[in-house]
């Protein structure tokens, strides 16, 4: 009886963390309710903490999952819903629905990796299907923000490159685990080429970086990485010389990055407004709902980090970056504990892809590197992006579940007293 009571009272770091996250979102949505006494905000103040509780604790009760990874992901997703709801209630609610779909997809990916014995027979289908899907916008695609990488379908639009991300990770990890290098690198190169043709240079950079990281992790060959980076640089230089009109957009972004103040009202407007918003926020921010970051073009998408820094402050912005870093560290830990080469490479690839995406978009926001049009994982507005980011977490969760099963097997073997057959 006493033990039961003590167990109930015991506070673990995981429970304390989830409780703090719930308090954070209750206070944030309640503050938004006080702004205009909108009942929707009050309902969200009650619903979002419950969703966070279910997402962090409930899911891990249903099947083996890494609770820390779940909690971190849930915090960032809920932060995305909060910021988007504050900017535009409609977008916030749509993002909440996408969050639910993403959680379901994440569970599916976890179960796929946990119970699929091998990807040997589906790997080629994944690769061919990926190339076909990626090339589809060239035929029936629509252009958004200069990139012809969207497909509109039934009033909704999505980017095939977000779905192909997952197939790329699984295929590269599978082929490289079988010590095959040429085929997976060729597949990645074809994907990058298609994305470059579509003018989607941000995603192309993401694919390219992930393939290089995975290639290095699988072979340990600096030569391979050097050849890949050198080849890509040569392709960009040659392409710029042969078809300069194709690279004009990318070059203009580089010029804006070098000196955005040259054309403040034109090409440099977005990045200048982003920098001003972040500077306005200062260390502590201007307060939730009191900022004016909506003047930044694409503030709900590419520049959502600037909105967060504007309203919550630079310190909070650093906390968000630290949370992404902790997701990467957790991913690397999962990869290190993996029992098989495929699973280790898969977890490494997932961590690398998320890390690159965060670096590219936050680096673009703070003018560290040229800005490219990709989303901030879990936070930016966009259904496909959110679902695919959660699927990447699902892949990591699947590897973590496999690791846990492997430790149980080892424990059973050790219980039998060891020895030889």
């Amino acid at each position: 009886m006493t033990d039961k009571k003590n167990k109930r009272r015991r506070i673990t770091p995981g429970r304390a963390m989830v409780s703090t996250v719930m308090l954070f979102f209750f206070l944030a949505f309640f503050l938004l309710f006080l702004k205009d006494f909108n009942w929707q905000s009050l309902m969200l103040a009650l619903a979002v903490p419950v969703i966070v509780l279910f997402g962090s604790v409930g899911i891990s009760k249903l099947f083996p999952a890494d609770t820390l990874l779940l909690s971190l992901t849930n915090f960032l997703c809920a932060l995305g819903v909060l910021v988007l709801y504050r900017l535009s209630p409609e977008r916030g609610l749509t993002q909440a629905v996408n969050y639910g779909i993403g959680v379901a997809a994440m569970i599916g990916c976890t179960l796929l990796i946990r119970y699929m014995p091998s990807f040997r027979f589906v790997n080629w289908a994944f690769m061919l299907g990926s190339v076909a899907l990626l090339a589809l916008p060239l035929v029936i695609g629509t252009e958004k923000n200069g990139a012809n990488s969207w497909i509109s379908f039934g009033g909704r639009s999505f980017q095939p490159s977000e779905i192909v991300k997952l197939a790329l990770l699984i295929s590269l990890a599978h082929m490289l685990s079988k010590r095959k290098v040429i085929v997976p690198m060729g597949f990645a190169a074809v994907c990058v080429l298609i994305l470059a043709v579509q003018n989607d240079f941000g995603t192309a950079l993401l694919y390219f970086g992930t393939a290089l990281v995975l290639g290095y992790a699988a072979t340990g060959s600096v030569l391979l990485v050097g050849a890949g980076a050198g080849g890509a640089a040569a392709a960009v230089v040659l392409g710029n010389m042969i078809i300069p009109q194709k690279f004009a957009r990318a070059m203009s972004r580089v010029n804006v990055w070098l000196n955005p103040w040259q054309d403040v009202q034109g090409a440099g407007y977005q990045i200048v407004q982003g920098l001003i918003a972040m500077a306005n926020g200062g260390l502590w921010g201007v307060g939730l709902g009191a900022g004016n970051a909506t003047v930044i073009p694409e503030h709900y998408n590419d520049f959502i980090f600037a909105v967060i820094v504007n309203e919550f402050g630079m310190i909070f912005g650093l906390i968000v970056v630290a949370m992404y870093a902790l997701i990467m560290i957790r991913g690397i830990m999962i990869a290190r504990n993996a029992r098989g080469v495929f699973h280790a490479l898969l977890a490494t690839g997932c961590a690398a892809m998320l890390a690159l995406q965060v670096f590219v978009i936050i680096g673009g926001n703070i003018k560290l590197i040229p800005l490219t049009g990709i989303t901030l994982p879990f936070i930016s507005y966009g259904g496909t992006s959110l679902v695919s980011s959660l699927c990447i977490i699902g892949l990591m969760q699947g590897v973590a579940a496999r690791n846990a099963a492997g430790v149980n097997e080892d424990r059973e073997l050790a219980m039998q007293g060891g020895g030889w057959r």
């Binding site: 503050l31 820390l68 009191a290 057959r421």
Partner: protein, 234 residues
């Protein structure tokens, strides 16, 4: 609420949000370190975690831990490194398959022999199987408790699966101990057949473990690890 009042409240709350964010971050770091320590502790208790056995180098006598899957060869990136003449940097791939054994596959036509038979495709090695990679001779040893068939004569996995057609043996029809005949040369040298020797009675009675209530010498077993009941914890 008036915009001025809301602005004041939002400016007050921004500190709370930063503090809560920092607290969440600290809890995450704390949990991460705790998990890491627990994992290290568990791995210390399970030194063979992730392994399925060992590979004994029959030329040098050294043994290498055998992971579930990996690469054999002379390269530094190999899981089992055999620096011998003729062994390629990447010589053979191996992976443990539950219920079948250790699957060994020559890498790009490398010379691999299993119990003297050259492999053209992959084959399953069992406990005690001898494998030759060019000039390196190794023996596979698998842990007890793994779900693999018992060691038997090697059959290459070229056209048919190994052990599929073998019938199970009826052990109940056999005597508990089979008397092996003594070697002829030993008989010629005058050694006595141990099976024909009468059973000698024990010279000393076996020691009896004391039980509770036997006397003052009884000392109840105590674990060397000090444990406290949860209710006694402070």
């Amino acid at each position: 609420m008036s915009s001025e009042a809301y602005e004041l409240l939002a400016m007050l709350m921004r500190y709370i949000f930063v503090v809560l964010g920092a607290v969440i971050l600290l809890w995450v770091i704390f949990q991460l370190r705790r998990d890491s320590r627990a994992h290290k502790k568990e791995m210390k208790q399970l030194p063979d975690a992730g392994l399925v056995g060992e590979v004994v180098d029959l030329d040098t006598g050294k043994s290498h831990p055998l992971p579930r899957e990996g690469l054999m060869g002379s390269g530094s990136a190999c899981d089992i490194r055999l620096k011998r003449r003729g062994v390629r940097r990447k010589h053979a791939l191996f992976s443990f398959v539950d219920g079948k054994g250790l699957r060994i596959k020559p890498h790009l036509g490398s010379k691999v022999e299993m119990e003297g038979v050259q492999l053209r495709s992959s084959a399953y090695a069992l406990h005690g199987t001898q494998v030759t990679l060019a000039n390196a001779h190794i023996r596979i040893r698998l842990f007890a408790g793994l779900n693999v068939p018992n060691p038997a004569a090697f059959q290459p996995d070229v056209n048919r699966p190994v052990f599929e057609e073998e019938e199970s043996m009826d052990y109940s029809a056999m005597p508990p101990f089979v008397q092996m005949p003594m070697a002829e040369e030993w008989q010629e040298e005058g050694y006595a057949d141990p099976w024909q020797q009468p059973v000698q009675p024990l010279q000393q009675p076996l020691p009896v473990m004391p039980e509770e209530g036997d006397g003052e010498d009884y000392v109840p077993y105590q674990s060397p690890v000090v444990r406290h009941r949860r209710s006694e914890r402070r």
